[in-house]
């Protein structure tokens, strides 16, 4: 859509006339996922919080402050710039939902802080976030693309934020959860993780649509820029991870989680994964923490067959599938 078309007029949105079914599919998915932090009984974690050492508390508050910054960027800059590039009114509407949910995410971290932490410690962490060079560079690298005049790179940056940059932070609550600590906080983070998956998928889908219309030369150029940006973000992410997790000895494990999610970010853009499986083997307890009550192995091929899922077979009707 050209700037002239964009600025010329606004038409009333008609959800019964879709240019792209995916807009409604994702809108429905996002709205059915809607939640607020008040839904999660965070105060049940107070006792658990008090079992953490001062160093572990500081790490946790810093990690959540870093995540708050990313959510703030996405809500106040990322989603609004994507809205300007939207090709359908429904796509615009989906970004309004994304923008609002990112605000809910940012709000949630403050709920965790006010429930569990001392005000002074939280103020210290916000000051830390403003001065931490790797966190600030991460922010700059993304904002630079958001402020560029390249709609494709805006989407690339947005997918990297949604599907890659959050994960150095998400690792920690999953780690605590796998050690039966801060389990309610982990429940809340899982809601955020679920939302980010849909955001990355949708923005990546819109990116692929736009890229398909570009010339082969331009496609190659954008692809090169995308991998280049990923590597730049990755180098910084490694330094950020080291600065946070070295002192608790978790850096190497966090890096695997970064590799695994960097691959998924690239795949959301339609690009081949970069990191080989030898460096994406995330600790199974972390993967299990993402999926707290699932204990089944679903790789039938590599298993002994014990994972054979059998249920009561019944004739299927439409109603039966709750469809």
């Amino acid at each position: 859509m050209t700037i002239m078309q964009r600025l010329s007029r606004v038409d009333a949105i008609n959800w019964n006339r879709l240019q792209d079914d995916k807009d409604l599919e994702v809108w429905n998915r996002l709205t059915s996922n809607f939640w607020l932090p008040e839904k999660v009984p965070l105060s049940n974690d107070i006792q658990s919080w008090n079992t953490l050492t001062q160093q572990e508390k500081q790490l946790t508050i810093r990690v959540f402050t870093g995540l708050t910054l990313l959510d703030t960027i996405q809500s106040s800059v990322g989603a609004p710039v994507l809205m300007e590039d939207a090709r359908t009114p429904h796509e615009e509407a989906v970004y309004t939902n994304i923008a609002f949910m990112e605000s809910v995410h940012a709000r949630s971290y403050s709920s965790i802080f006010s429930t569990l932490c001392a005000t002074r410690d939280v103020d210290d962490a916000f000051r830390w976030s403003e001065e931490n060079p790797t966190l600030q560079l991460k922010s700059e690298l993304i904002l630079k693309r958001y402020r560029s005049d390249d709609p494709l790179m805006r989407k690339v940056a947005s997918v990297f934020l949604e599907s890659f940059l959050f994960y150095s932070g998400f690792y920690l609550p999953m780690y605590w959860s796998s050690h039966a600590k801060l389990t309610n906080t982990a429940d809340l983070i899982r809601l955020i993780i679920r939302d980010e998956a849909v955001h990355g998928y949708y923005i990546g889908y819109k990116f692929q649509q736009a890229l398909a219309e570009a010339t082969p030369a331009r496609q190659q150029e954008v692809k090169d820029y995308a991998y280049e940006l990923l590597l730049e973000l990755y180098d910084n992410e490694v330094r950020y991870t080291e600065s946070l997790y070295d002192e608790v000895g978790l850096t190497e494990d966090v890096k695997k989680f970064l590799h695994y999610n960097a691959n998924k970010a690239l795949m959301n853009l339609g690009f081949e994964p970069l990191f080989p499986s030898s460096v994406t083997d995330v600790d199974p307890t972390i993967m299990a923490a993402l999926s707290p009550s699932a204990d089944e192995n679903h790789d039938f091929f590599s298993g002994s067959g014990s994972s054979y899922v059998i249920g009561k077979a019944v004739a299927t009707e439409d109603d039966d599938w709750a469809f």
Binding site: I193, D318, F323
Partner: protein, 144 residues
Amino acid sequence: MQTVNVEAGRAGALVYFSTKSGNTHRFVQKLGFSAQRLPINREDPTPRVEQPYILVTPTYGGGYTEGAVPGQVIRFLNDEHNRHLLRGVIAAGNTNFGEAYGLAGRIIAQKCQVPLLYRFELFGTDDDVANVRKGVEEFWKRLT
């Protein structure tokens, strides 16, 4: 009704659904087996298969049972003839959804009493492609 030509007991007979995002389509293309895609458009007629097959499907929705299986897949499986020839299911999803990762596969496996063979994310990694290619070949050998 449209008929799908899938040879009996032959390694790699697949039926799959993939939305416009094309992730599942891309995964199936990489496998290199003969495969039939279910129509995206809900108005198009549901095909009828003639031979045993493995179903590959994405998972929809926000992590709830309701709406996890795409409507087009439900319509295909509501035909008892098609359901009868289903031998296994492979599901796409995202581990971000936790226990609902690949939920559509689990639901179909339970309803149709077939094994959930494998789960993969987005369009699958090279490892996923190799695992499924090998696994599916051995699976058909075991059945014949």
